[in-house]
């Protein structure tokens, strides 16, 4: 299956991309996406357990993904 990972702000800067398609085996979790991104060049700058949203809602790292899911890896927020 394929999912889309979104990166923002400082995370997009260190990985030099804002969006990428990731092919994963069925049953893959949020944690697998994070591990994939952290293995990319620059990805080690991300914390091991960053905030993540699946389809625009915050999700734990053990959430099982479906093909087509949008996984946002969210740097520490700084609104206001």
């Amino acid at each position: 299956m394929t999912v889309t990972a979104l990166l923002f702000a400082s995370y997009a800067d260190v990985l030099q991309c804002e969006s990428l398609e990731i092919a994963l085996p069925k049953g893959a979790t949020v944690g697998d996406v994070v591990a994939h991104v952290r293995a990319m060049p620059g990805g080690a700058m991300l914390p091991p357990s960053p905030l993540v949203a699946v389809n625009q809602a915050y999700a734990r790292s053990d959430v099982v993904l479906a093909s087509g899911d949008e996984i946002a890896i969210i740097p520490p927020v700084a609104g206001g």
Partner: protein, 146 residues
């Protein structure tokens, strides 16, 4: 109740007008603005970036929670994104309620939840021409309360 992520100047007067109601005895207005320094470094402006669809949804959720907790529908919140100069408003929260206590509490709840949950980031620009993403590590950043 209305919430929005906007990319233009926030019209504070119009937000106040939206929460007006004869049954309300108190209106609390919170305006978050870009200040001219952070941690001792002089700031000239801030670029706000967001995860648009989620920020829109999360801001709406926060205000629905505030509406239910504090029993008022008279809540209007706008958060601005894009480039802002010092002194400009980045977030405006207007809350009106029959009683002042609940108006204050609802306003405080909304800004604190924005700080915790809203997927918005800011890159400060300094007088020396450099810029940096703000990482509020001193503040616990977690997902929504269960």
């Amino acid at each position: 109740m209305r919430t929005a992520i906007v990319d233009d100047v926030i019209d504070v007067e119009s937000l106040l007008a939206e929460v007006e109601r004869d049954s309300n005895g108190a209106t609390v207005l919170f305006i978050g603005t870009v200040r001219d320094q952070n941690n001792g470094r002089p700031v000239t402006g801030i670029e706000y970036a967001c995860y648009g669809p989620m920020a829109t949804r999360e801001l709406s959720s926060i205000c629905t929670e505030a509406s239910e907790r504090f029993a008022t529908l008279d809540i209007v919140v706008e958060h601005r994104v894009g480039h802002l100069f010092v002194g400009e408003a980045s977030v405006v929260i207007a809350v009106a309620h029959a009683r002042r206590g609940s108006a204050y509490e609802a306003s405080r709840y909304i800004i604190e939840q924005i700080k915790r949950r809203l997927p918005i980031w800011k890159r400060e620009e300094y007088t020396d021409g450099t810029r940096e993403w703000v990482d509020p590590t001193a503040v616990a950043v977690v997902g929504p309360e269960s």
